[in-house]
Amino acid sequence: MMTGEQYIESIRPMKMDIWMFGEKIESAVTNPILRPSLNSVKATYDLAQQPECEDLITATSHLSGKRINRFCHIHQSADDLIKKVKMQRLLGQRTASCFQRCVGMDAMNALYSTTFECDIKHGTDYYKNFITYLKLVQENDWVVDGAMTDPKGDRGLGPSQQSDPDLYLRVVERRADGIVVRGAKVHQTGITNSHEVIVMPTVAMKPGEEDYAVSFAVPVDTKGVFMIIGRQSCDTRKLEGSCMDVGNSEFGGMEALVIFDNVFVPNDRIFQNGETDFSGMLVERFAGYHRQSYGGCKVGVGDVLIGAAALAADYNGAQKASHVKDKLIEMTHLNETLYSCGIACSSQGWKTQAGSYMIDLLLANVCKQNVTRFPYEITRLAEDIAGGLMVTAPSEKDLRHEKLGPYIEKYLKGVDSVSTEDRLKVLRLIENLTLGTAAVGYRTESMHGAGSPQAQRIMIARQGNIAHKKELAKAIAKIKEPVTAK
């Protein structure tokens, strides 16, 4: 396994094609807007080295028998699935941001079982390709981005019906030694901090859409791959050099629009190529794992936000007010409910044909459906407890100013035992999480990441087994006639 520093040095020499504000970025390692997101990924390496965290952050590879980072692991039991969620909570607590490495883990676990079952039906070699690739990932302790979401153009039309056929990533050329692909993937969290990217289809494909049923892996600095960094609220505060004003100066997240401009993929890096009957399985399994993930990572970030709200109450002298205590209880209740869902869908995990473990899909979708709601209520309560100063406080520069500083110290003081500076620091952290750069991960990503709310409702409808519930009701009510819908 790499240390955090070794990870940074492994990213530094990569020749990634990154763009931001209309300019090419020399390196994700040295850029002040991107560096906090790199630090969050680095934490996944640092914690693996710490005795008090390693039990969650590491696992034993079923391929090599060696100790590996859990982010490179294929789940071998329901206990592995539970430990994954616990690991994510821990990392959310330590970074208060998206640490970006889950998406690759979820992609690899989805591909492991899907390629196995596809090979059985179609006689393909994708599982062999994937195992060879997985060994590389585990041996090199790589960060792998999982790229699923296509731009999708007109949502009323399928991939092959779009006026521009590139709006879903597709194969544009099949050669003896591989394929050439063109298209884009949006919302790519952590891609500038990744060694590799795994591409998957974004929806279940139909016959006739073979060119869109494609999955593969390439290094992020492959020719033809380039990234356009997404803006985040308050992102340029990171250029101002203020530790206080950014709220979380060490950690963060990043997203990018990733273009695949006629990218060549060699045969041994292809995991799906035209098998439309397995694109749905890959999407469903990836989404299932990723919906489980949110029952861990968002809970860890929620722990920090609850702590920050409680500190704000202390610093305001309001900690004894019954309504403040009740709001903290409600925030905790909501946060632990999310965690309960993450643990529940893991504990009900089942063995796939390939031998790996898959979460319970119904419970994972219930988990993510709750995640689309509860962080919003938690942030609302945090803002309620914090008070309006979290969005009206002057800057750190003003606090340090010879003339203004003493006035800010005097008039923005809370309780005597706490400095004005510390009070402002915790308010900035709440601002960061509720409407600053970290709100990308904690709020809107909670809504749309791993699928928007309606995607979960469709899965809940499919898995909900209403027919069984009708039979239960008929048995209790002594109804003997079959139920017929009118």
Binding site: L56, K86, L90
Partner: protein, 88 residues
């Protein structure tokens, strides 16, 4: 005497694991606490942050046994056990 400390991952600890071990070390000045994959220790202490005690169950015990703690009352019992071992 050597004591190997094995932690759970600490996802939502309700017991201060690292502080508890620091207190344990301070109260046993003559005892060594090897880090990493040391040879078989005399005793293994598995320190968990909550009653689910999810630390890797495959953790090998020490030559004289192992003890799992997840609350202060467990630490008190551990200390008594260690005192008995060192006396005998």
């Amino acid at each position: 005497m050597t004591i190997k400390v094995k932690y759970c991952g600490g996802c939502n600890p309700r017991f201060g694991r690292v502080a508890a071990v620091a207190r344990l070390r301070a109260s046993l000045p003559g005892v060594k606490f090897p880090e990493g994959d040391a040879p078989e220790p005399d005793y293994t202490v598995i320190v968990c942050g909550c009653p689910s005690r999810c630390a890797n169950p495959g953790t090998p015990g020490g030559r004289l046994g192992a003890f799992t703690v997840s609350a202060q009352k467990d630490m008190d019992r551990l200390m008594e056990t260690l005192r008995n071992i060192t006396r005998s």
